[in-house]
């Protein structure tokens, strides 16, 4: 005869089941081991890297030996995660709002001011700067983008990049064209080179980040500022003229393949350039890595600054780029601050800047490091000059990240409109900018 469970036993099983279910739902938060200024050896930190190499897997391949070098030098293990650009901002947001995130992370340097305002990142006070090697070791132009003016920065530069106009030397030589020095020349060169299945220039017209970058650059060329302090001014005539100059390439000048409106990755545009389907592409200098991967030799292309219209529109400036790049930040509530600072010091040190600069084709942020991203000294000189003389920083306001999404996502549908055969007028652009401006938080 089977015994039925007695009442106490029944009670125990039900409670145990309920308790097990409740406990399984709770995750145990990491144990708080504060290192009281002692040795950092044996700690493990989590590092979120951004996608700098042609693919995420390439980033892992490039970074892992350097991280192992760091571990052998300091005894600190690094847990690496490489995150693609489409998701990096969202992941950072989730980490900031939940308080659970990595210890160290890369950020787009244009987000520095916005992320600074969240208050979630370690402020780089004098002592923190000293812990990572001193403020003076950083290149001044790169350092200028690390936060809102008159506030303690919460990130330091890691990689430096600038936009340039890449052109196919053979295609230009075949038409006896010198590389363009004014915007008008760029358009006429592109028209001369368009035909027989080849287009003059390719654009990553589906990518909101690229679109906002060029809105800024061309806006500056037409004297238009995106912000007045913290207030958005997307509808000012200079910005609209700049955006129109950009979109006109597709629907008025007809030098861009309409299919480019679907391009959301740099690999698409650079792939077209490498295969000779287009004669020009505007890209940051880390294009070299992708072009080599696609089989294009550095001798086959040249780079000039992105030209401005000549004569310059009133209040316009000859701007060819903003100081692009990647900064590195430490989460304020990280349990391993000393180890994180050691890691940042390592990544921004001369040997690492030279190794990673060569692999990821970025310019060094350390004044003592050599530019190793290219063996072509002329090319290196071109980009160094662009950064020194023709660069203006993207607005250093806490609303910058919102601006990037709002403006970028306003321009992408305009390209779609241009691609499907409907010419984009200045009033279309103004309407789109008004919508974008309305999405900005009221300051």
């Amino acid at each position: 005869m089977r015994r039925r469970l007695t009442t106490p036993a029944r009670f125990a099983t039900v409670v145990a089941a309920a308790a097990a279910l409740a406990v399984s739902g709770c995750s145990s938060s990491g144990s708080k081991t504060t290192s009281a200024g002692g040795s950092i050896k044996g700690q493990t930190i989590t590092y979120w890297a951004s996608n700098q190499a042609p693919t995420v897997q390439d980033d892992v391949k490039d970074l892992t030996p350097q991280l192992q070098k760091f571990t052998s030098q300091t005894g600190v293990k690094v847990n690496l995660q490489v995150i693609d650009w489409a998701h990096l901002q969202t992941k950072i947001l989730a980490a900031v709002s939940s308080g659970e995130g990595p210890d160290v992370l890369n950020i787009g340097n244009t987000w520095a001011a916005s992320l600074q305002s969240t208050g979630a990142f370690l402020p780089f006070t004098t002592s923190a700067f000293n812990a990572v090697g001193g403020k003076s070791k950083f290149v001044a132009g790169a350092l200028a983008t690390d936060g809102a003016p008159n506030q303690t920065p919460t990130s330091v530069p890691l990689y430096s990049l600038a936009y340039g106009l890449y052109y196919n030397k053979a295609m230009f030589a075949a038409k006896n064209l010198p590389p363009p020095t004014t915007w008008q020349q760029l358009v006429s060169d592109a028209k001369a080179l368009t035909g027989h299945g080849v287009y003059g220039i390719t654009l990553e017209a589906g990518s909101y980040t690229e679109n906002v970058h060029f809105a800024f650059i061309f806006g500056q060329q037409h004297g238009g500022n995106l912000f007045n302090g913290d207030t958005a001014t997307f509808t000012n005539p200079g910005v609209i003229a700049g955006v129109k100059q950009y979109i006109d390439l597709m629907d008025v000048d007809h030098v861009v393949n309409p299919s480019d409106a679907q391009y959301t990755e740099g690999t698409s545009t650079l792939g077209d350039f490498a295969k000779g389907k287009v004669a020009m592409v505007m890209n940051q200098n880390n294009a070299n890595a992708t072009l080599s991967a696609d089989g294009m030799k550095p001798s086959q292309y040249g780079v000039v600054p992105i030209p401005a219209p000549s004569p310059l529109p009133s209040a316009g400036k000859d701007i060819a780029t903003f100081p692009a790049g990647i900064n590195i930040s430490i989460f304020k509530n990280s349990q391993h601050i000393a180890a994180d600072e050691a890691f940042v010091k390592f990544m921004t040190s001369v040997p690492e800047q030279e190794v990673l600069g060569q692999e990821l084709t970025t310019l060094p942020v350390n004044t003592a490091a050599k530019a190793t991203w290219t063996t072509d000294t002329a090319l290196a000189g071109t980009f160094k000059n662009i950064l020194a003389n023709q660069a203006a920083p993207l607005p250093l306001t806490k609303n910058e990240a919102d601006m990037e999404t709002a403006v970028g996502n306003a321009i992408t549908p305009l390209f779609a409109q241009a691609a499907t055969g409907h010419v984009v007028t200045a009033s279309d652009i103004k309407a789109a900018m008004e919508q974008a401006q309305a999405k900005m938080p009221a300051s």
Binding site: T7, R10, F11, V14, V15, A17, A18, L21, A22, G25, A86, Q89, T90, L93, V96, S97, G99, S114, L115, S117, T118, G119, A120, G206, S207, Y208, P258, S259, A261, Q262, T264, K398, A401, D402, T405, A406, N409, T412, P413, A416, Q417, A419, T420, E434, Q435, Q437, A438, K439, M440, P441
Partner: protein, 329 residues
């Protein structure tokens, strides 16, 4: 129905049936308590995962939550009803785009639900009688519903690319049906692309539910109707459909709610840049909150969407129930 007895009470009966004087110790009545205890974890999790976040979302719609305050939400300044005012101001840019998104989503939902239900019904009808290969066909038809969402939709993204996609290859290069290569993921065609992908995913579910419903229909009604001289179509409209009403009521409501809320299809098909013609409400809200870090707006729009769907449900269910009562009466 016995009530849950807690605390001191008038004379209780213990399991032996003998009366006892009221005591201070309260006694569990196991037969009654066990079901509630077994339900407790489910209720707790439902509260934690659904109800509490929904209430927090509603609270967020009344505050000005931007990136400055996401570290500690309670310190965000109150926005009162201003988020709602902006969302419902149809002459302002944000309100106008919300209204546009709402209309697009409504049309999209009606199209997708209509076609999914129609194709599902037709297929279930055809597959009712056994024939060779019926099992294989049934399994094949369920594949779009069973395939993981991302994998299924990303394949459509590749197929609909303008230059390299299989679809344009077929209709332009192979069959020469059109001269110029159309865009399927940009412009107005994006609406049809999204609708077709959604119908592709949803109709197997409708098919499955209706199949199950049809197999429970009694045969004698059909025999009686064929004796009375009813042909196949008449049987279908006068016998099958009315008897399927309970199934269809629930099915159409579920399809409506799921399709209206559809985030996966536009998100995977278009990634971060959704064309205006395919700007469904879920992704519109996502782009206006997560992407610009303005959660107050996003929460307000979500609450408005929730209220609309509750309204639809509240109107639909009594009407459907009343009609099915009149049928069976």
């Amino acid at each position: 129905m016995s009530t849950f007895v807690v605390g001191t009470a008038p004379p209780e009966q213990d399991s032996a049936g003998t009366a006892r004087p009221p005591g201070h110790r309260f006694r569990w009545n196991w037969r009654v308590a066990t079901p509630y205890l077994l339900l407790a974890p489910a209720v707790l999790l439902e509260l934690l995962i659904h109800i509490v976040p929904m209430l927090i979302g509603a609270w967020i719609s009344f505050i000005n939550l931007t990136q400055e305050y996401i570290q500690s939400w309670t310190s965000a300044p109150s926005a009162g009803l201003s988020n709602y005012k902006v969302a419902l101001n149809f002459s302002g840019p944000v309100g106008k785009s919300l209204l546009h998104s709402f209309v697009i989503t409504l049309v999209y939902t009606l199209v997708v639900v209509g076609f999914s239900w129609g194709i599902g019904l037709a297929t279930a009808g055809v597959l009712q009688r056994p024939f060779r290969g019926r099992g294989v066909l049934r399994t094949l038809f369920l594949v779009p519903y069973a395939v993981p969402i991302f994998a299924g939709i990303i394949v459509w993204n590749f197929m609909l690319q303008r230059d390299n996609g299989m679809f344009n290859q077929l209709i332009v290069s192979d069959l020469h049906l059109v001269g110029t290569r159309p865009f399927w993921l940009l412009g107005n065609n994006a609406f049809f692309s999204t609708a077709i992908v959604a119908i592709w995913r949803s109709w197997p579910f409708a098919f499955l539910m209706i199949m199950a419903g049809m197999q429970n229909l009694p045969n004698d009604v059909y025999e009686a109707s064929s004796i009375d001289g009813a042909g196949t179509w008449r049987q279908f409209f006068r016998v099958t459909l009315p008897m399927l009403r309970p199934v269809n009521t629930v099915l159409v409501l579920m399809l409506f709610l799921w399709t209206f809320n559809d985030f996966n299809t536009p998100f995977v098909l278009f990634n971060n840049s959704v064309p205006p013609s395919a700007d469904l409400m879920s992704i519109h809200i996502y782009e206006n909150s997560f992407q610009v870090w303005n959660f107050g707006y996003g929460a307000a729009m979500s609450v408005l969407m929730l209220l609309f769907l509750l309204l639809v449900t509240a109107i639909y269910l009594p009407i459907a129930r009343r009609r099915s009562h009149s049928v069976s009466a």
